[in-house]
Chain length 420, copies 2
């Protein structure tokens, strides 16, 4: 525990992870809920965190990590990036949650429209789920139809219509989605046929980033085919760029494929950790978007918008995507060399900026869990069954520090399991 | 525009409301969406705001107002309350959106469990809608049932299952709610009968605060009857305290009636404007709550939790409810005297802390809109068809300043319409 965190949070310094877990077990169901419940992530995974700076973070026991999860996506230009923090603090000093939006809302919407070729307008909210839900409302308002085609296993949020857990969810809440298989155009056609013309939207992630599985990039033919299918159906193509957005291409993650959506859902990294989400859309959907009643008490708050504006400007000015690509490539190449030298056959999948590593034949994820746990021990924060995230703050020094830890973790894995 | 806001937001000072509206019209559907679209609120209503302090706010044209809307609820201990801002800034300096929650999450949950007799545990999210939705998920997980009884016209959020606007909403999304009439126990019994035993929850606001209508306090017999009905059905009683919470009774808004819910949804004023929501629940629902997959990228962020902890502690230490009650009583008595002296017959409804005023026979709200517009002209920010909110920062001086403006507005109304 550093002097800094002692100073800013005097009551917290004495509370280590174990004592916090014991207290949490009394006042929070299961001790924690949702994707940040440490029980899901292996015994080495810390539950509580106290501080972060740049590409580093510290857990409640004072242990330091190179952060390859980036707060599960939101951090993209470094924890506590000075320019983002200054922009947010300046706005906060004037006003955040007022009786209406601030000028920064217009500036942010203008920035998105300027940056994103498929965007003629923007609406803001708080959660990624707000954005995917709102995008589907726009598509339904535009088409007067009900059904949405979604890829089996894709994560689009945690509202009852899309949460991967079905507890507390009713059949009616799931009745308007029809599934297809990612990168399988024929299955999407079949899903459309099943809807008998009642398709409001086709909703896709820019690549397949389902948990527990190797990631898959979108095949160009699939992306173009999905675009053509939506056009033929008169349905909206919605890209859920909540997870991947701002890391692959600031213009939208399918822009390099030449495929433009009608609607895009954004969140996570948009404001470097400040809570915000957005839907951007094409001109033809502006009118339908106006007909919605979709709102929230904090959706117009100015501080997160100021942070988003600063984050996106930094990414644009510094070519943040290239920085992340460089870091991701260095990490991928380093891990490949280490795995080979330790005698493991691994697969590294997904874009290098949003990577994941799996072990050959490790269906139970036993090796992945062991290795990821060893990485945590070595001060490298990554994950056994969820993709990781890189940021523009992952300099060569940070990647090399991470690779020191992963190398030691491979050695421990070899000691425990032997080589492949 | 003050020197302060010039200093903190140099690019904004020159942008007045009209020019911002013109720019917004190009990049935001309808120029603005949701409940903060100024077009819904009359021609005098400003669209953009730049600053707030205590009980005052400034719009983008630099006009100052006494704020009787409190950002539509969230502000409760004064805009930019120094203690809340300091707690938030200290947490932010350490870390906000990390790879897991901070110690402050445990502290906040402990505070809620300590404060709220019906709370044995807490879960946090971002929007009031997150909380109402999550509470119903818990109730459904606990009961294995689908239907929810809700009062006709009650606002429970803007997700498709509850938004008052039906554009972009499918029939399936609305199929699990059955309506009854607020303060009419027989209608709730009839709604239950309609569900034929399939009732997961009865969802009620602590008083009737529907827009465009006089508010109604809950009759004690109704509250007790709803509790008994839920018990008889084996359903959860859920209080939606998003709008009214923290203003009537810190222990929960039906605690003075002696009626305890199984689940409560909280948000709005919980962190004095920082974005947070919560569900609190009884011990019997802890297990079902653990089975949900309900989460969000920013639901565990620490800064808003630090702000919530500070806000609730201030309210508790200063008896904030009593301060709001005093302010609301002074406002209500002042308005009653002014209306009478100007010859108007008005109704003032709802708790004094969450007040509304309507004019006798003014079904079209024409007088209400005229008077509210005149109040805006006079520097008093209130609303023609939505309840207002008072805060602990509304000192006698602030209320008296507001009453100066309302008196002048009554005079203008009399000049325009004559007395009743």
């Amino acid at each position: 525990m550093s002097e800094l965190s002692r100073d800013v949070a005097p009551g917290h310094a004495a509370a280590g992870d174990a004592s916090l877990r014991a207290r949490a077990a009394k006042v929070i169901p299961g001790g924690m809920y949702g994707h940040l419940n440490a029980a899901l992530h292996g015994e080495k995974y810390p539950q509580f965190f106290v501080r972060a700076e740049g590409a580093r973070q510290w857990d409640a026991d004072g242990k330091e990590y190179v952060d390859l999860m980036c707060s599960w996506g939101p951090m993209i230009v470094g924890h506590r990036n000075p320019r983002v923090e200054a922009a947010a603090a300046a706005q906060q000093a004037s006003g955040d949650c007022l009786n209406g939006p601030g000028p920064v809302m217009v500036e942010l919407a203008e920035l998105l429209v300027d940056l994103i070729p498929s965007a003629d307008w923007a609406m803001f909210s708080k959660n990624g789920t707000d954005a995917t839900t709102q995008a589907l409302m726009v598509a339904r308002a535009a088409t007067g139809r009900t059904k949405v085609l979604v890829a089996h296993g894709a994560y689009h949020g945690a509202d009852p219509w899309c949460t991967p857990g079905l507890s507390g969810v009713t059949p009616n809440q799931r009745a308007d989605t029809i599934e297809f298989t990612y990168n399988d155009l024929a299955s999407a056609e079949a899903a459309a046929a099943q809807a008998e013309g009642d398709v409001a939207a086709v909703l896709v992630t820019p690549f397949k980033h389902d948990s527990f599985e190797d990631q898959e990039l979108a095949e160009a033919e699939f992306a173009r085919g999905i675009r053509a299918l939506a056009d033929r159906l008169g349905a909206a193509l919605v890209i859920d760029d909540v997870r991947a957005g701002w890391r692959l291409d600031l213009r939208g993650s399918w822009e390099p494929l030449g495929v433009r959506p009608d609607l895009t859902a954004w969140s996570k990294a948009m404001a470097n950790g400040f809570p915000i989400a957005a839907v951007t859309g094409a001109e033809a959907l502006r009118g339908p978007a106006q007909t919605l009643y979709s709102t929230g008490s904090f959706w117009f708050s100015a501080t997160a918008m100021a942070a988003a504006t600063a984050t996106i400007e930094i990414l644009r000015e510094t070519d943040g995507v290239a920085l992340m690509h460089r870091a991701g490539t260095r990490l991928r190449e380093g891990l490949a060399a280490q795995a080979a030298s330790h005698g493991f056959v691994v697969k590294q999948t997904g874009p290098v900026q949003v990577p994941w590593l799996s072990f050959e034949g490790d269906e139970t994820l036993e090796k992945a869990m062991h290795w990821a746990g060893a990485c945590l021990d070595e001060g490298v924060f990554l994950h056994a069954w969820h993709n990781w995230f890189l940021s523009a703050a992952h300099t060569d020094v940070e990647i090399d520090r991470a690779l020191q830890g992963t190398d030691a973790a491979f050695a421990k894995l070899r000691a425990a399991y032997g080589a492949d």
